[in-house]
Amino acid sequence: MRNTKFLIQAAIIAAVYAVLTIVLMPFSYGVMQVRVSEALTVLPFFTPAAIPGLFVGCLVSNMLGPYGLMDMVFGSGATLIAAVCSYCLRKRPLLVPLPPVVANGVIIGSMLYFAYEVPLPLYACMLWVAAGELIACYGLGYPLLRMLQKYKKIFELH
């Protein structure tokens, strides 16, 4: 960890993620998860503190949510992988919201198929999850990225 400011910024991103998940609860934990807080997965575009921030945010939200350990492990793992990939893609803003769609589709789709044994083909489970993510990440995340570009300064660690 770089310094205290980095840590706090990550923690606050985590808190915002958790708050949005809780406020928009009916969307966030349902079968077709359109977790609006997933729009925040565009934040690695602005700051690397968003990588641990989103991971912790997802962990805390799942800690407060109804599914317990399963979601804490797989959901947060998917968010962490996606955040690292989004950070690597920060030079191409249009692609920044893509990693969470893919990571959640693959990991959570597999969780539904293998652990919850949903009697659908694996690819259908993945597409189902990815569709919900697509709405959150491109429907809201990308416009948010464009909008926050005007306020880039708030992310600077100085």
């Binding site: 706090i8 962990l59 317990g68 652990a115 809201l140």
Partner: protein, 271 residues
């Protein structure tokens, strides 16, 4: 509108299960989830149901709280049950028009449905009997051996603690911003899903600016107090494994052993 929200799943109590170290409860939950997939027949579920019943009974968490976690995935349970019941080929049991329920289909549906229900109940039990802050301490302690290979256990726990601390503050802030934007004519509740998602942008941007202002103040306060984190820090209430935790761990080991034996069909051989 935000005042009606229930924060978290924790069911306050002082039972033996509530008092256990969070690490023990995390380990038990992992073992429990794995055990569900080692079971091959309904006899195995008897061990799991007896264990779960015992834990729920000791924890004094009302069963209605346990079942609450099932509500969001009720559709998945019904879907799994129905598809397995009608799509499995085998000896016909009941015929309804062109649909046939086979003996094997009924068994499969019941087996899968039970597993799914037990999976969700067991998985959510952890958050029902453990305070989020204790869970954070437990995760930090469990991850701390990983610090040698670069896993920032302390920093992660610190972030979780700060995030938990700021959730109520930011919830209040979100409420204020929502009301302020609604007073200006913002509409968060009508339209299709895409429209509703987009309507949240006027909420998110001010929320960010406000949250980052809080972050700056907090970082400055922590730096002024020379916060350095990691090994330099001591704890007011350190967590230590007690006798009851050792008993719970021994119980977990016996439980796992019993499930493995069942999975291998040892009981059938004995009977």
């Amino acid at each position: 509108m935000i005042r009606d929200i229930t924060l978290g799943q924790y069911y306050p109590g002082n039972s033996w299960i509530h008092q256990l170290d969070a690490r023990v409860k995390i380990i038990w939950t992992f073992v429990y989830i794995i055990s569900l997939f080692l079971i091959q027949d309904f006899w195995g579920y008897l061990i799991i149901l007896a264990t779960l019943g015992l834990i729920v009974g000791v924890s004094k968490v009302p069963p209605s709280f346990m079942l609450r976690g099932l509500k969001p995935i009720f559709l998945i349970i019904v879907f799994t049950f129905t598809i397995n019941m009608f799509m499995t080929k085998g000896t016909p049991l009941i015929e309804i028009g062109f649909l046939t329920i086979t003996r094997e289909g009924f068994r499969n549906a019941l087996f899968m449905g039970t597993r799914l229900v037990l999976l969700i109940i067991g998985s959510s039990l952890l958050t029902l009997v453990t305070k989020p802050i204790n869970l954070t301490d437990g995760i930090e302690k469990l991850l701390s051996p990983g610090q040698k290979i670069g896993i920032p256990a302390h920093e992660l726990a610190m972030m979780m603690t700060i995030a938990l601390r700021f959730i109520p503050t930011l919830l209040e802030e979100t409420d204020k911003i929502m009301k302020a934007q609604m007073a200006r004519g913002a509409d968060f509740e009508s339209g299709n899903i895409m429209k509703r998602a987009k309507s949240l942008i006027p909420l998110l941007v001010p929320l960010f600016i406000s949250a980052f202002r809080i972050a700056q103040d907090l970082a400055m306060a922590m730096e002024a107090r020379c916060y350095r984190g990691g090994s330099h820090r001591t704890r007011m209430n350190g967590i230590k494994l007690k006798k009851k935790d050792a008993v719970a761990l021994a119980f977990t080991a016996i439980y796992l052993f019993a499930v493995i034996l069942q999975g291998q069909g040892i009981y059938k051989m004995l009977l």
